[in-house]
Amino acid sequence: MTAAEVKTGIDRPVARPRHDRVRLVLRTLSRSGVFLSGFAIILFWVCCALFGNYLVPYDPLASDIINALVPPSSAHWFGTDQLGRDVFSRVIVGSRDILVVAPAATLLATVIGSALGLCTGYFRGFVDDVVSRLMEAVMAIPGVILALLAIVSLGTSKVAVIVVIGLSFAPNIARTVRSAVMQERELDYVAAAHLRRESAVHVMFVEILPNVIPPILVESTVRLGYAIFAVATLSFIGFGIQPPSPDWGLSISTNYGMINGGFWWTVLFDALAIASVVIAVNLVADGVQGAFNER
């Protein structure tokens, strides 16, 4: 109540022009240490994925059996794996596949989820009941298991991974969008639009959609984190990115059996690389969420 009072106290007749809302979010982001550090890490790995091939000392795919399982040294900073491939080179370019697959899957999930959420939230009724129950049932199966099941039937390929993760994340986004839309459609501006004889498409996309963009953005950045999590995990259990990619999850999968032998360098650096990306994405998501909540 007091907070409200403070707000009306500074409620000047006219404040900033409208486009400043976007600028305000960007400004908040540019001042958020959490967001910036996450963004920097992601930028680093994107650069590695794009230009890594020109920077690394060895060919990440070239095996050199004589120098297999060499511990870290000045020649091989992160050592070599059981095929004698340079771990440092592999880690640097290992982000390539996951940084394509995970964002693509997230994009797919966002598009499908937003469309579903918008329709079910706006029309409600029978369609909503059926779709919601179905989505609930899908969400009752843990994502990894769902992916496992689907990939067994679709076969392993990057496209399959994108489709499967995209589809299995869509219900989460749809649920967020649906509840936001259901709140929005109770507001009087929707009634006002009906009293102007606007079409359902206009009401959904011009009136409601702009107001649910913030939750969609927040939810999809959070989902991007989970997508990287999921892709890495699928690769680790052999259902994701396939050899001979230098993908991190895949590398850990092929090498972790030798942990007991003390060959820690074959997995540790890949693990740290995954950790850095996942944490970075979540720092970004945290920043985005904070920036939208601040308004």
Binding site: V34, R133, L134, E136, A137, V138, M139, A140, I141, P142, G143, V144, I145, L148, L149, A150, V152, S153, G155, G225, F229, A232, T233, F236, I237, G238, F239, G249, I252, Y256, I259, N260, G262, W264, V267, L268, A271, I274, A275, V278, I279, V281, N282, D286
Partner: protein, 329 residues
């Protein structure tokens, strides 16, 4: 007075429970249908899969017929569900034995692992969230929040690998495999389960602590907390009697939904630590295209998840009179 009111209350509660049960049932039916349908689109004929590429056509057909795979889909589905209800989950292609004993044993093992993880994580995470909220925006809050978030987002195999390296390989404090020697006692089993449980604990800690923290902050800023403070109650009484009960309600739901993620995580953890749980079972079945085993495993996992959310909702109703008693009398 109380006596007069009780029957009405019982009716309201049981109506709520019935409604909630019906919802769960619908979810389960849909779930089984989805699982069954996906099983149908799996590539190739089962007979071909079992007999290999060089078997002759008639033999494949005959095997399919003997497995009942030539009947209409709806009949097969009904058959499958009916069998499931009687405890007959079909025969495994891989082991050429009934699926059910495998599932039961694996589920038991998984529940052991999950129980160890839950027993450790639920109290610590709630405590962490509450401590963070009580020190809102202070360093300890930042450490718990950011640390929790970081741990939560790391895939289990990443934390698992690092934990194995640190505690299993370098420090040699804990066994790196979850397979305890035969006839090991309870404590030994727990000793073997701590390392596999750790990645799960780390993932869950962040979720639960985060929820507990935000619930606490909301409750602390509420008008009724202000009322309690301005009544002149001691701070400890305010927290214990007024704040905690309302603050932790949403956390119950989160704990239940996390069961789902927990089971998803089990696939990875059990693979990593070679632990004979339901996750590893499903994973092996998927690799070996052992469809009856795969479908049964997934359905069981779905049932566990649905049950967990059901229990969570009922618990919420117990603690929240607004749900329990419905609207105005």
């Amino acid at each position: 007075m109380r006596g007069r009111r009780t029957p009405a209350r019982v009716i309201v509660i049981s109506a709520f429970i019935l409604k909630r049960l019906a919802l769960s049932l619908v979810t389960l039916v849909l779930l089984s249908a989805i699982v069954f349908c996906v099983g149908q689109v799996l590539p190739g004929s089962v007979g071909r899969l079992l007999l290999g590429p060089f078997a002759d056509h008639e033999a494949v057909e005959a095997l399919n017929a003997s497995l009942g795979l030539d009947r209409p889909l709806l009949v097969q589905y009904a058959d499958w569900i009916w069998g499931f209800l009687r405890g007959d989950m079909g025969r495994s292609y891989m082991y050429e034995a009934p699926v059910q004993p495998f599932i039961v044993e694996a589920l038991g093992n998984s529940l052991k692992l999950a129980a160890v993880a839950f027993v450790i994580v639920v109290p610590t995470a709630i405590l962490g969230g509450v401590v963070a909220a009580l020190n809102h925006n202070k360093p300890i809050d930042r450490i718990i929040s950011i640390g929790g978030l970081t741990m939560t987002v790391l895939p289990e195999f990443v934390t698992g690998i690092i934990l194995i390296l640190v505690f299993g390989v370098w420090l040699k404090w804990l066994p790196i495999s979850a397979a305890w020697p035969d006839g090991a006692g309870g404590f030994t089993q727990i000793h073997y389960l701590i390392l596999p449980a750790m990645p799960l604990i780390l993932v869950l800690f962040g979720y639960i602590a985060r929820m507990a923290r935000s619930g606490m902050i909301e409750a602390l800023e509420s008008d009724w907390t202000r009322t309690a403070v301005l009544k002149g109650l001691r701070w400890r009484t305010v927290i214990w009697r007024h704040v905690l009960r309302n603050a932790l309600l949403p956390t119950i739901t989160v704990i239940a939904t996390q069961t789902g993620y927990l089971i998803g995580g089990l696939v990875v953890v059990e693979t990593l630590f070679r632990y004979q749980g339901i996750g590893l079972l499903v994973f092996t079945a998927a690799k070996g295209k052992d469809i009856p085993m795969l479908l049964a495993g997934i359905l069981v996992i779905g049932i566990v998840y649905t049950l967990a959310t059901l229990i969570a909702d009922l618990l919420c109703a117990v603690f929240d009179p607004r749900i329990r008693l419905g609207g105005r009398q």
